[in-house]
Symmetry: C2
Subunit: 133 residues, 2 copies
């Protein structure tokens, strides 16, 4: 069973992802991620980006766009199994996208020097539910 | 490093998820999933469902709706790390939702009797990209 420290470390790196996003800090974002070919990132409505190169480019573009985002995270639930952990949560967006809720799963792997994000997948929660897949 | 057998077993259970979906077979779907409180499922546009009870109810509802879905899976990439595995892919939907592509990450954990799905997250790929999160 994972210990409290495991879950806290996972929460902490997950938090660093959002701090890097809010600060538009590509260096900090880069430290959060596993900079590998297998890294995966699906921004809401985007096609899946595969590999750190494409993911870094997406954050560079997002960070250059006007306006800032603030995330209020709710329903946050960390899980650790062996050297893999995942955090599910809702991103409640403030700012220009105010009122939007994004359902998210963030996936991490444990390295010698701590947890690194290997996948992020977010999708906007629609007010009316109907699509499937 | 995971062996070829690990990756094949992961591909196989991932395939069983889509076969169960296409067949509207709740029993088969139930066998694919880890029937636990930590199980997570985000259908495209839906809020995140937490716990097998809510997930099972969602599939029951989806399976009772008219029309059938066919999935053509592309960009499928399985990864195994320890007793956790994930499969990223695009679901290309045929049928009533023809033309829709859903970016997906499916997360599995290994049990004594094989892999079980612990999370599914799908989001429709929009033709125009712009949202972030």
């Amino acid at each position: 069973m994972p210990g409290v420290d495991d879950l806290e470390a996972l929460r902490a790196v997950n938090q660093r992802y959002y701090e890097a996003f809010e600060a538009s800090d590509l260096d900090a974002m880069s430290e959060v991620w596993e900079r590998s070919e297998r890294a995966l990132c699906t921004h809401p409505g985007w096609s899946m980006l595969r590999g750190w190169g494409h993911i870094a480019a997406s954050f560079m573009a997002l960070f250059q766009s006007p306006g800032t985002l603030q995330f209020v995270l709710t329903e946050l639930q960390p899980v650790v199994q062996g050297d893999v952990g995942w955090v599910s949560l809702d991103e409640n967006l403030l700012g220009d996208d105010s009122g939007i809720t994004v359902a998210v799963i963030n996936l991490f792997t444990r390295r010698r020097d701590g947890w690194q994000m290997v996948a992020h997948h977010g999708s906007v929660v629609q007010a009316t539910v109907g699509q499937m897949g």
